[in-house]
Amino acid sequence: MFTMISLVQPATLDEAYDVLMKSKNNTILGGCGYLRMGSKRISTGIELTKLNLNYISEKDGFVEIGAYATLRDLETSPILNKHFNGVIEKAVAGIIGVQFRSMVTAGATVFSKYGFSDPLTALLALDCDVELFKGGRMPLEDFLSRPFEKDILVRILLKSNGRKAVYKNFRNAASDYSILNVSVSRLDDDFRIVAGARPSTARIAKKASALISGKFLQSPPDEALISEAAKLAQEELNFGTNMRGTKEYREELCRVLVKRAIEEVLECK
């Protein structure tokens, strides 16, 4: 069981950050969905309810997701559902159950860079920035490649530029973790192919994305090229083995799911 010596609910981000930096074992609390299953030792837990970060709004060409918006908020948000082909809803819908999704937060899922994360894969396929209190605003892709550093994720920003995306995953059973998940997005003739739960954190398949970008605007979709891109994604990303699946199994899944996702995103209007 975890231990937590003290618990604070700061009224400002400055205050929260000060407490966070005061001791090595001071920790920002998200939805705490995993807290009971671990043996984390927390000196001071920093609970952010009073910062009013539970919102999803749209302004200046971006959809903004506050760090304390829950996965259920993402799933049922009318704003998110009218953008990106509803990909965020599809990416979170398979996570445990309604009750769990009503507690766990978008910010914690992204900040923790969970390898098994479903929403992270879909977010990475979109034009997504994250804003950290100290580190500032940066593309999600940059954030994921940085080494872990203490900070507070304040909000997630998605450019509402008409990008359409598709989300695919493979699970052994409903509500289990994904063995592999894939998201492919398209903005005009620019494609982005992402795979997550490899089982490591979601990553963009750059070569595969480049291979099909700029190809389909004039000519009809070329099945051989789609298959080639799916194979390239399988080759350029690294996969691993864990209790849910082997490296080889994930490679096969990646090829199949990427192919299906490209075919489907080509149909998105």
């Binding site: 937590m4 609910q9 609390l29 299953m37 819908a93 309604v98 009750q99 769990f100 009503s102 507690m103």
Partner: protein, 149 residues
Amino acid sequence: MQINVSINGKKAAYEIDNNEFLADTLRRHGMLSIRKGCNTSNCGLCTVWIDGKPVLSCSLLAIKADGKSITTIEGVQHQAEEFARILVEGGADQCGFCSPGFIMTVLAMKNELKNPSEEDIIHYLTGNLCRCTGYMGQLRAVKKYMGVE
């Protein structure tokens, strides 16, 4: 520390520990309908509503309920009885251990979804794992209760 909540429509102040989850707070104050079935945030037996939304009270830190309105099955006895009657008539009730959490999720679904499809119902109930009388019997009863046979 102390949290101030509305519990089933009545104001209450509870003394809590830092490490405390809401299920333990509520059980300590007599709401024994709340069960902890799995210890892994999966089974849904501990479901209560926070501001009308179903959550897992076994995994929600008690402090997160501060200032919120909590509803347990003790607070919705009339609706719970109505659904329980349909469950029993359909032969879809057995030991009853998981019933409070299951019923709280079904009632929340009734409040949230209008005219759901079978797929919508299954999706909403995925987070409740104990189904000892069988899946189909419960689904028939839920559909009857939702008025979508």
